[in-house]
């Protein structure tokens, strides 16, 4: 705390030292016997004050004044002492009034601005539409107004004053007034994004002056789309911001990555939402976001030091704007969401016949007897009158589930429905006057689920309030408060955990298994009772955050900032597993299962405290621009997790620990960590032509032992805007060409707490009864890493920004090499005799190289058609540059290994003839017996047998790298156009190159292979093309129902999947109703739109898989909760 106290003192000291209120405004006037009016003019010039006075004040009076740097007040006193004029300060006005009129009140005084004249005008855009809310200011003064609903304004100005007219999105315009009293002013849309200001760490910077690799998107990308969360909005928008969404389950968020492989121990970008680090992008309301900035290279991130090794995502929420009237906007969408790819299962007859073939191949008796197949046929022909099952011969009052069933069920379509409905509504209010402004946003998002009987759903509510106030010219502050509440309601995870995932369950039900028994009750094997009556799993999150910011500006260019944030994150989970009817007996008695009779409740709270204080100074002297920033940050996070569960509830209607009487479990986890840092930044540029920036941060983390805690992370970046040179010959064609280069070093502390301590866990309820109880246990201390310290990442970045053809074409390119050194790699391989997992060491290096390109073309055709086309393209590729694997075992990392490379065999083909069998290489390392229909692998080294050698580099036999699963050349293409109120947006996103190895030999791969060796097998339309004597031209090899299957399912070229894809992420057509119509119902704007997400996908991938959810979760490839395409209708209204 010492540092923070120190800074606090500093700050307060500064505030006292440079108190700049009106009392301290000083003037210098030296005149003898001159008209009062001249003196007033003089004072107006020297200060920001304007004089107003009524006709009774004699400004032609001769006065004398001789003051040098004296307070304004003194001047006024001297001027008006002993006269009949009163003076008073009112905001930026000095009001002079005749004493006799004083009693009459101010209202009666006709105020006339000094030598003022009144002008009126209209501000319009290029289409002639009025611009509402444009700022019209008399230059050099604070005298200004904003345009009204018709774009009109009127203002008193001095003769020959210059007007400055500005509006967001339009180029500011200055016009010199003449004798005219009415003006029509046309603002051009601002294609010069060069003036754009970009949010960077602890401040903002003009885009034109950036020297690092920084991308920013404004809220245009987010508004007006049917967004679940920011992740969905950002996908494909920023090159090398890689976003993945693992499943379509309601409430599932996205994960973010910047520039590819970070570290072997993982590393995510630092997310900072309004200055609070460690936020969750998935829980903020896209509608409240003003801009998102991604800092990619080390130089831009260095100011955040140890937590920013793998990039920073800065989110800035909306604020109100100065001098704008209160505006209310509403936006809402409703959408229907349809599952994308659903595997088509075969019917029970096709299944049974195919399954018997595989059983025969495996030397097993056919599972389906002729009699059984006859019943299956009978059922398919007449499901109405054929019982779906038989009583169990050994236990005749029960049905023969999972054995003799002859139903015909498409399990995926049984568990999942075709679509769900979701809606999102947002309303926000903003406004402001001279001294304060505010933004309040509230939104609700309501998402349905695809589970047919579980009524799973997700709801999120966000509210945010950003208030900015400027009590004095030299002091301003912000108070930002936000609250998020979300609520996920689905079936109890006791059952979910029991079945894995519903996709997994669907793949492990044979088509002939009963959905209902012959009496019409749900079958036990269908698990339907769990979906319907199994109890609810409710998880609720509450995130409350509050930030107070104070900024002092003692003198022009010097800012002192201090902010303090508090965030509390509450996550509650309640899981109620009800005893349910498991099945009905043949004579229709219900059989209950009590296995899951339990209730679980858990509360996980995290408190986060952060203090930032920093000060900056900037100055421009004859084109030499300097700025410096120095600051301090500290953060502390404390987590507390309490949970309890209890079995045997007395009442299932009141699930709580208190109504349980059975075995009870409780638990508590406590954790905390802290970090501290001191940071600084120095900028210099000469006429925005030569630019240089230094950053540095000295950072400490509680995650490391004493003596290894602190690290210093410096960076430097330079820029050269060659187009600003006088000799630049193509000023019109290429108005901007800035070459950039940067280098920086950052730390990563992304490891578990306490790796330097040999902690010993205490276990409870161990699964062996001693003396009638489940005992507690004490763990074995492992090996520790006493010298564990920072992992560092060094990034070298070269790039350029270019603006061509009158700024119609904008482009940006970056190449980078990020070297991650001293990684917390898995330790050096040590013989297993050590008997424990090895401590992490800072022992490995990785290099990630890549590039990113973004290009935008904006133009208009004729007067009405505006359009733009944009492309982002990025790529990365990583390889190990240091790793302690002296023998180069290929099952471990080795120097030169490319991350995500896929090792496998080259396929020669399917064994078709006896000749093939005789001539094929010896494959006995994979399996003892080979026959027709099996896979023949290629004997690459010609030694007559298929081997993987010693599995060390250089001796891998016929085993080789056959692909790489890194997504390469990720791209996004946006096109948008506007025409007379219509707008159209098209957004395509994709991956141009990616391989995917299908898992073999276990039930993870059934959606691809069909047969996976017995349990877990299911068959789909795509998996029926397997080898038999009658189908020798098959795609898939001879099937087996035993572990023999794995000999044909080795990772190999024949079945390597091409997981590249292009997807129409968004297609939107909107129409803004003409203002003249809307105006009649007292509204500002109405826009209607229809929008579709994920409407089509082009991919070479097997039809059972969606390219975005390949890896699956809960049981294997493609076994994800289906993702959806959506059709939405939306409405935006500005009141």
């Amino acid at each position: 705390m010492k540092i923070s106290t120190l800074f606090l003192f500093l700050l307060i000291f500064c505030l006292h030292a440079e108190n700049t209120n009106s009392q301290n405004v000083r003037v210098t006037v030296k005149h003898d016997n001159i008209e009062l009016q001249t003196v007033l003019n003089e004072i107006e010039k020297q200060t920001d004050y304007l004089f107003v006075y009524d006709k009774y004040v004699n400004v032609n009076r001769k006065v004398s004044l001789n003051l040098k740097k004296r307070p304004l007040k003194e001047a006024l006193e001297q001027l008006f002492e002993g006269t009949d004029v009163n003076y008073s300060l009112d905001g930026t006005y000095i009001v002079l009034s005749h004493k006799e009129n004083k009693e009459k009140g101010r209202e009666n005084i006709v105020l006339i601005t000094q030598q003022g004249k009144r002008i009126t005008g209209t501000v319009k855009d290029a289409n002639g539409e009025p611009i509402i809310g444009a700022n019209v200011v008399e230059k050099g003064t604070t005298n200004g107004i904003i345009t009204d609903i018709d774009g009109k304004f009127s203002l008193n100005i001095k003769p020959n004053a210059t007007l400055k007219i500005s509006y967001i999105g339009y180029a500011s315009l200055e016009i010199k007034t003449n004798n005219a009293i009415s003006y029509i002013i046309t603002l051009q849309e601002d294609t010069k994004i060069l003036d754009e200001v970009v949010v960077v760490g602890y401040g903002t910077q003009k885009k034109v002056n950036l020297t690092g690799a920084v991308s920013q998107v404004g809220n245009k990308f987010i508004e007006n789309r049917t967004m679940r969360n920011i992740g969905q909005a950002l996908e494909g928008q920023i090159p090398n911001l890689n976003i993945t969404t693992a499943s379509g389950e309601p409430g599932t968020g996205s994960t973010f990555n910047i520039r590819g492989t970070t570290s072997l121990s993982g590393g995510d970008p630092l997310i900072i939402i309004d200055g609070i680090s460690g936020g969750d992008l998935n829980t903020i309301n896209p509608n409240d976001v003003e801009s998102i900035t991604v800092l990619k290279d080390a130089a831009s991130c260095a100011i955040y030091g140890a937590r920013a090794a793998y990039g920073v995502i800065l989110v800035t929420t909306k604020t109100g704007s100065k001098n704008s009237k209160i505006r209310i906007t509403y936006s809402g969408t409703v959408s229907d969401n349809l599952r994308t790819r659903i595997p088509d299962q075969v019917n029970s007859l096709e299944f049974a016949e195919a399954y018997n073939i595989a059983s025969k191949n495996s030397g097993q008796a056919p599972m389906f007897t002729d009699e059984h197949i006859a019943r299956i046929k009978a059922y398919i022909n007449d499901p109405e009158h054929t019982p779906s099952n038989l009583p169990n011969p050994s236990n005749p009052n029960y049905w023969s589930y999972a054995t003799l069933d002859n139903d015909n069920v498409d399990w995926i379509r049984t568990f999942f429905k075709p679509s769900y409905f979701s809606q999102k509504h947002d309303i926000n209010v903003n406004g402001g006057n001279e001294n304060s402004n505010f933004y309040i946003g509230a939104g609700i998002f309501d998402q349905g689920g695809l589970l047919k009987y579980a009524n799973d759903k997700y709801k999120r509510f966000n509210i945010i309030s950003n208030v900015h106030f400027e009590p004095y010219k030299w002091l301003n502050g912000d108070l930002k408060i936000s609250f998020m509440k979300d609520d996920k309601n689905t079936i109890s995870n006791a059952y979910d955990g029991d079945i894995g995932s519903w996709m997994h369950l669907a793949t492990t039900r044979f088509p002939n298994w009963s959905l209902k028994d012959p009496n019409g009750h749900w079958a036990s094997t269908s698990h339907m009772y769990k979906l319907i009556n199994g109890g609810r799993g409710i998880t609720q999150g509450n995130i409350f955050s509050m930030t107070g910011i104070l900024q002092a500006i003692p003198i022009e260019g010097w800012k002192i900032n201090m902010d303090y944030s508090f965030k509390r994150n509450d996550f509650q989970s309640k899981q109620h597993a009800k005893p349910v009817i498991w099945e009905y007996t043949v004579d229709e008695h219900p059989v209950m299962t009590t296995q899951f009779d339990s209730y679980f409740t858990g509360i996980n709270t995290t408190n986060y405290y952060s203090l930032n204080s920093y000060t900056s100074y900037e100055k421009n002297i004859n084109g030499n621009y300097f700025s410096a920033l120095i600051g301090y940050q500290q953060e502390y996070t404390k987590g507390h997790n309490v949970s309890a569960s209890r079995r045997e509830l007395v009442s299932q209607d009141l699930p709580s620990i208190s109504v349980g009487v059975g075995d009870q479990n409780t638990g508590e986890d406590l954790s905390h960590w802290a970090d501290q840092g001191i940071f600084m930044r120095l900028n210099y540029n000469y006429k925005e032509k030569y630019l240089i920036e230094f950053n540095g941060r000295y950072d400490g983390s509680s995650k490391f032992p004493k003596g290894h805690r602190w690290g210093y992370f410096p960076s430097v970046s330079i820029g050269y805007n060659i187009a600003k040179e006088n000799y630049w010959p193509w000023k019109n064609e290429i108005s901007n060409l800035k070459l950039r280069g940067s280098w920086g070093k950052l730390g990563n502390q992304n490891v578990a707490n306490y790796l330097y301590l040999a902690t010993v866990g205490i276990g409870t309820k161990y699964g062996y009864i001693i003396n009638g109880e489940l005992p507690n246990t004490l763990g074995t201390p492992g090996l520790i890493s006493p010298n564990l310290t920072w992992e560092t990442s060094k990034t070298l970045d070269f790039g350029f920004d270019i603006s061509l053809l009158n700024n119609k074409l904008q482009g940006s390119f970056d190449w980078y090499n990020r070297a991650t050194t001293g990684m917390f790699g898995p330790a050096d391989p040590v013989p297993a005799i050590i008997g424990t997992s090895l401590p992490q060491q800072n022992n490995a290096n990785l290099s990630t190289k890549g590039f990113e390109i973004s290009v935008t073309w904006r133009d208009q055709i004729g007067k009405d058609l505006h359009y733009s086309v944009g492309l982002v393209l990025s790529d990365y590729n990583s390889k190990i540059t240091k790793y302690n694997n002296p023998n180069n075992l290929i099952d471990n990392y080795y120097v030169g290994r490319k991350i995500n490379e896929i090792w496998g065999y080259e396929t020669a083909g399917i064994i078709q003839t006896d000749d093939d069998l005789a001539k094929m290489p010896d494959q006995s390392i994979l399996y003892g017996k080979w026959q027709k229909g099996d896979i023949m692998y290629k004997d690459l080294n010609g030694d007559g047998k298929i081997t993987d050698g010693k599995r060390v580099l250089g001796d891998t036999g016929d085993y080789k790298v056959i692909g790489n699963s890194t997504p390469r050349f990720a791209f996004g293409i946006t096109a948008s156009g506007e025409w007379k109120g219509f707008d159209l947006n098209i957004f395509l996103q994709g991956i141009a190159k990616r391989d995917y190895a299908v898992p073999g030999g276990n039930n993870a791969g059934t959606l691809f292979w069909g047969f996976v060796g017995g349990w877990g097998t299911n068959l789909y339309k795509t998996t029926m093309d397997f080898w038999t004597e009658d189908n020798t031209n098959a795609y898939l090899p001879r099937p087996y129902n035993s572990s023999e299957v794995s000999k044909n399912q080795q990772v190999q070229t024949r079945y390597l999947q091409n997981a590249a894809y292009m997807r129409l992420k968004n297609l939107q057509l909107g129409y803004t109703i003409p203002h003249s119509i809307v105006n009649k119902i007292s509204l500002q704007r109405i826009r209607l739109y229809i929008s579709g997400e994920n409407l089509f996908t082009i991919t070479g991938l097997n039809k059972n898989f969606d390219p975005e959810t390949l890896s699956g979760w809960g049981g294997g490839m493609g076994k994800s909760y289906p993702i959806t395409k959506s059709l939405a209708f939306g409405l935006n209204i500005d009141f």
Partner: protein, 579 residues
């Protein structure tokens, strides 16, 4: 200069507030804080108990373990890759697991830190030694020669790169640990229920020594033989340990049920063995504690893709004490009812016969056994016509979890170990038989075995051995059938030729004859039958003529290849590739 200055100032500031970054664990203790108090020692050794046999080991719990032998035939001929000859050298893992050894070493190395009275903590010290022996024995059975590691290693320990030591020395070290365990452990009568006691340790010691003694004797002059083999030493240790246990008199052979046809079977399906004289240790289950077992979801309801082998059925004697090949009481095997009549009563208490109660509620039968479930789905079918009953509990909940106990140590093994060790030492007198084999036979009313045996069985499994040893081994097979001993026995006796014979089950014709009683209607086409008409589950598999177990290498597992690369002094087991 300027940067240096800043750096120094920043460093000073940082050092001055180092305490802000001191965030020690809030909910964990560290190794330095372990004082080896009585409580800590108890908690520490508790975590090893999960390594005892478990109801989850197979669908039938321990009663499915004989699937890896000639006693039971699993539907998948590749159920045990070692037997089917499809085992290949792993690159890592594969059972080469030293985590538990490290855990026990940490205890044994550091427990002297304790300030407790040794008498109070002796049981836990004994348990630590027991468990180290347990884990080492498991590794030795799997890999033979081993490095001997008796301390916690760090990444720079030389021992990591040491050689393997002869299994004979390893076995002696294990025995040394067991002797320490026996010294420290309390008698069962004063041990906490569920914890290891002296008697259990004695039984386990006899098992270890008998295993090593037989291995050294029967693998002599093979690639698996031990130089300077000393089988007598180990047989002696085995006999002594078993004898000590028998002489303690705290355990006995007891009847498992009220009725004669439950004397044996009734022993294997109890919830509570805490006062059993014969079941020395068991895993208790409790629905209310959420610790349940599932074996009875298969028993009696379906089968578990397995069945007893004809060889096992044939090895049961007739009630006259003679084998079927010579006894006049044997009625042939055309019908199960014939085959099972006049046989050692343990036979019909091991497999289901028509009319057996499969399910009952409070003693009232609700389901009877008719015929084995041979036409079921693979994972639920019976494979041979002989369906396992040993271990079944008709009273159990057949649809969700149950509380039947899982047996860990059974006293009968001590008697069989003793008889066998004595026979190997040529010291098996009639009095030895009378206090071992004949006690077991008395329970089921079988005639006594005499040292002369009194008959010649042309089908003895070990014609090269003495009749007495053949009969002692037969008794072991019968008494301990389907309890998970057979795989180890075949290996230590170097007797895997017994699994290299074609595996088969009952005669098929009898089931076809009763097709109408057989629900679901049996489709004979689907059941593989050999030329003699016996059910032969592997008829269409590579194991048609017996498992392709490779006797030149498969007696041991392969050391993972990566380990050999990392430690060149580590040599591969015979027959396996080292690279």
């Amino acid at each position: 200069m300027k940067r240096n200055y800043i750096y120094i100032v920043l460093a000073m500031l940082a050092i001055s507030c180092n305490d802000y970054l001191d965030r020690p664990p809030l909910d964990m203790i560290t190794d330095k804080e372990i004082t080896f108090s009585e409580k800590e020692m108890e908690l520490y050794v508790n975590k090893f108990y999960g390594n005892f046999p478990d109801s989850w080991d197979t669908e039938y719990g321990i009663f499915g373990l004989d699937n890896s032998s000639d006693n039971m035939i699993h539907g998948n001929y590749n159920y045990n890759s070692l037997l089917s000859g499809t085992y290949i050298e792993p690159t890592s893992g594969g059972g080469w697991d030293w985590g538990n050894i490290r855990s026990t070493n940490f205890f044994i190395e550091n427990y002297s830190r304790t300030t407790e009275n040794i008498a109070n903590v002796a049981p836990y010290i004994g348990e630590a030694y027991f468990w180290r022996a347990w884990f080492y024995f498991k590794l030795m059975k799997r890999y033979g020669d081993l490095p001997w590691i008796n301390k916690t290693l760090s990444t720079n320990s030389e021992e990591l790169y040491g050689e393997r030591i002869s299994r004979s020395i390893i076995a002696d070290s294990i025995i040394q640990d067991m002797n320490k365990a026996i010294e420290y452990l309390p008698l069962r009568s004063s041990a906490t229920q569920g914890r290891i006691h002296k008697e259990a340790a004695l039984l386990f010691l006899s098992r270890i020594a008998l295993y090593e003694g037989s291995w050294e004797k029967y693998h002599q002059n093979t690639p698996f033989g031990v130089s300077n083999a000393n089988p007598e030493h180990f047989f002696r240790t085995a006999a002594d340990a078993a004898e000590k246990l028998i002489n303690l008199g705290t355990h006995a052979i007891e009847k498992g049920g009220e009725k004669p046809n439950e004397y044996y079977w009734g022993l294997f399906n109890k919830k509570d063995y805490s006062s059993s004289k014969e079941i020395m240790m068991y895993r208790a289950h409790s629905i209310s504690l959420g610790l349940i077992e599932w074996t009875n979801n298969y028993f009696g309801i379906s089968d578990a893709d397995t069945g007893l082998s004809k060889y096992l059925i044939e090895s049961y004697l007739c009630t006259d004490g003679k084998p079927i090949s010579v006894s006049s009481l044997y009625k042939g095997d055309d019908l199960l009812s014939d085959e099972l009549s006049n046989r050692d009563p343990r036979l019909t208490q091991t497999i289901y016969v028509k009319g057996d109660v499969c399910n009952s509620v409070n003693g009232v039968p609700t389901g009877y056994f008719t015929y084995p479930n041979m036409a079921y789905e693979a994972r639920l079918r019976n494979t041979t016509g002989y369906q396992l009953k040993k271990g079944a509990n008709p009273e159990a909940n057949h649809t969700s979890g149950d509380e039947t106990g899982t047996i860990i140590f059974r006293y009968a093994e001590a008697l069989l170990n003793y008889a066998e060790a004595k026979a190997e030492l040529n010291e098996c007198t009639q009095s030895v038989l009378d206090k071992t084999i004949n006690v077991l036979r008395d329970r089921v009313g079988m005639p006594h075995l005499t040292t002369e045996v009194g008959f010649v069985d042309p089908k003895w499994d070990f014609p090269e051995l003495s009749p007495l040893l053949n009969e002692i081994r037969r008794e072991r097979r019968i008494e301990l059938a389907c309890e998970g001993y057979r795989f180890d026995d075949l290996f230590r006796w170097a007797a895997t030729r017994l699994i290299k014979r074609p595996m088969y089950g009952a005669k098929m014709q009898q089931f076809i004859n009763v097709k109408n009683e057989f629900k679901p209607a049996l489709d004979p086409k689907n059941i593989a039958v050999n030329e003699q008409g016996y059910i032969a589950p592997y008829w269409n598999s590579p194991a048609k003529n017996g498992w392709q177990f490779d006797e030149s290498k498969n007696y041991l597992y392969a050391i993972p290849l990566n380990e050999l690369v990392m430690n060149p002094k580590l040599k591969q087991n015979p027959g396996y590739r080292a690279q």
